[in-house]
Amino acid sequence: MAQMNMIHALNSAMDVMLGRDPSVVVLGEDVGYFGGVFRCTEGLQRKYGESRVLDTPIAEGGILAAAIGMGVNGLRPVAEIQFADYIYPAYDQIVSELARLRYRSAGEFYAPVTVRTPCGGGIRGGQTHSQSPEALFAHVAGLKVVMPSNPYDAKGLLISSIEDDDPVIFFEPKRIYNGPFDGDPHKPAVPWSTHPKGEVPDGHYTVPLGKADIVRAGSELSIITYGTMVHVSEAAARGLGLDAEIIDVRTMVPLDIDTICGSVARTGRCVIVHEATRFGGFGAELSASIQEQCFWNLQAPILRVAGWDTPYPHAFEWEYFPGQARVARALKAVMEAA
């Protein structure tokens, strides 16, 4: 056991896998000598060499295509896209190729590629360093989609993703790389060392894909969320003194709908919280599925709390970001309904 922030945990996951499995390679922009702009791959090239940890040209489409070819030739590539906002040049290779290769070749070919990419706002990054595009991947058949909310899960889920034979899009909420964030930018930053999930085993372990985590058991309502918003939601519920059951989705695909609906069936009230824009966001799928399965248990409409349907604005970050105030309004509305 060691104290790790999310960056250390992700680095440790890649270190463990590079060490255990000679077919694992890491590639991306500035990930080699430099160790990544967020330092997630620091020291790995020195340890495993220039042909296991590769610096690449700045061509996200080329990085994904190369990773697919490597995967077909028996390697297990872990590709980093420097910011999720820059994943779109690789979208065709991900959607048309990576997601459908196993299917179209009836299982003869597949590429076990993991795509790591930092997502989300809260770092004054403006419209091209703050996006949360998970819904654009969750809709695509053949991709697994993951987003951890703490160092322990980050390492365990990343190892599971690398070991998984299916492609995984692994989103890393960069705002909580260094510590949990409750949505209040004016409070002093809290390090992960203050959080139980900052305790991370040094060696190999996994957190299974496809299993949501009940972060807090509760009876009054269910909050379904993931990534940074897990912490914002906890704070908002605490602030209102609500006995909320908080579920960290962790894996959007495959979705652990049974755990989620089991909770809503019990509480009868549900709020969905994510950072991504609201219209057509992943919250819509959650809401639609929960409503279909829990309709007769619902005592109030399911509400969604999300980013506004605009690009991510630099100067209005805290009016844009779905902070405690926005979450609290929804929680109250759902509790007061009926």
């Binding site: 080329g62 295509a65 190369a66 390697l75 290779q93 070919f109 053949g142």
Partner: protein, 413 residues
């Protein structure tokens, strides 16, 4: 507004009603282009991307430094592969019209590209084809019946009914799955080659795309990554002059060859007569040896012509002269190899007719066998529930439930 326009629009040499015009094609006599050492620096190879490697001359002789000196037996095998491909294509085209298969694409006029290259490579070299390289399967020995079953989406379909006809794949034959999306395989081949280098493998990755497809971003990704990492890859632009209705000038071929893109990226570029079996074979050997000995990638432009319609959904009479192909200066690859063998005294019209008849018979027998495993419309049929498999390695819960929904839906019918 258009009136005052100064926009340059590439010329299409001939449209329906016009005389075919190939004056735009820069040709070089057979035997003239130099054959440099496989280890030469890419910067010294520019001439290869602007001239034209040719071996077979107009009197059907093999001439010049690129002559691979293949023995007659090998040439006869090559001729057989090309002819079988042509007979197969021809038959499938006719069968599509009858409605038994939904779609087909012929490689008529381009058979030498796939056959000569596959014969010059090792079986362990990995191939990333486009949809017009069916001859690769012929050379590597995949039974035609298997290809027909894919075309029929029947119970023996290698794709389990999921893919459009001609979108084959063959893991054991080291031939990658064909994507309906153009050019995506090009940089994937480079990634495969990078992995080969990382693993210390001797094998080379080879990929093909069309002149039109070379406009896609993935063409650039492939050349760039191949150049940066000196990947053991052979990247081929099959310049058959047309992209459906669009002339290759719209892909950038108007003022520069496609092979010349190579030197621009610091990699070797070779322009070859794609209808010259011997030239294609020789250039492939050269590029493969270069790749295996650490010389890095080669971009090969095959100058050829798409003699057939783009696909069974296309009618070329709408956009090019009917007799365009007859006037194509590089002729027909089957005829040219046939005439060369005859000139060598190793072939005859009689043997050729006999071979043609034998292959037609083989195709006919194969078809009878294939339809025995069902067709798109006639039983036996694949189990529709295969639709839910292989989306992921293990079927997740939401797909199990959808599979159950489908079952219920069908029970109601």
């Amino acid at each position: 507004m258009a009136s005052q326009s100064r926009l340059h629009v590439p010329k299409t040499p001939a449209r329906p009603g016009d005389q075919p015009d190939f004056s735009y094609l820069k040709l070089v006599p057979a035997g003239e282009t130099r054959r440099p050492d496989v280890g030469a620096a890419s910067t010294d190879l520019r001439f290869l991307s602007e001239e034209l490697v040719r071996v077979l001359d107009d009197s059907h002789q093999a001439v010049g430094p690129w002559n691979p000196h293949l023995d007659a037996k090998e040439l006869q095998i090559g001729l057989r592969h090309m002819l079988l491909t042509r007979v197969f294509d021809d038959r499938m085209q006719r069968i599509q019209r009858s409605g038994k298969i939904s779609f087909y694409m012929r490689s008529l006029g381009e058979e030498a590209v796939s056959v000569a290259m596959a014969m010059a490579l090792r079986p362990s070299d990995m191939l990333f084809p486009s949809y017009r390289n069916q001859a690769l399967y012929v050379v590597r020995g995949r039974p035609i019946v298997d290809l027909m079953c894919q075309l029929l989406s029947n119970t023996r379909d290698m794709c389990k009914g999921r893919q459009l006809p001609v979108m084959y794949h063959w893991r054991n034959g080291n031939i990658f799955s064909i994507s309906g999306n153009l050019a995506t395989q090009f940089p994937q081949a480079v990634g495969w080659a990078m992995a080969a280098a990382i693993k210390g493998q001797d094998d080379v990755a080879v990929s093909w795309l069309g002149d039109g497809s070379s406009a896609e971003a993935d063409f650039h990704h492939a050349l760039l990554f191949a150049s940066v990492y000196k990947a053991p890859a052979i990247l081929c632009v099959v310049n058959n002059q047309w992209a459906i209705s669009t002339f290759q000038g719209f892909a950038g071929g108007e003022r520069q060859t496609f092979a010349a893109r190579g030197p621009g990226y610091g990699i070797a570029g070779v322009r070859v007569d794609g209808n010259d079996f011997l030239a294609v074979h020789a250039v492939t050997q050269w590029a493969a040896e270069r790749a295996r000995t650490g010389g890095g990638p080669t971009l090969i432009e095959h100058v050829t012509y798409r003699a057939a319609a783009h696909s069974t959904s296309d009618d070329p009479a709408r956009y090019r002269p009917k007799d365009d192909y007859e006037r194509f200066p590089l002729g027909d690859p089957v005829l040219r190899l046939k005439n060369h063998l005859i000139a060598l005294g190793e072939w005859s019209e009689e043997r050729h007719s006999a071979l043609t008849a034998e292959l037609e018979e083989h195709i006919a027998k194969s078809w009878k066998e294939a339809v025995g495993f069902g067709t798109l419309t006639d039983p036996p049929r694949l189990d529709p529930h295969l639709m839910f498999e292989d989306v992921f390695r293990d079927m997740p819960e939401h797909l199990r439930r959808q599979e159950a929904e489908l079952r219920a839906e069908q029970d109601r019918d």
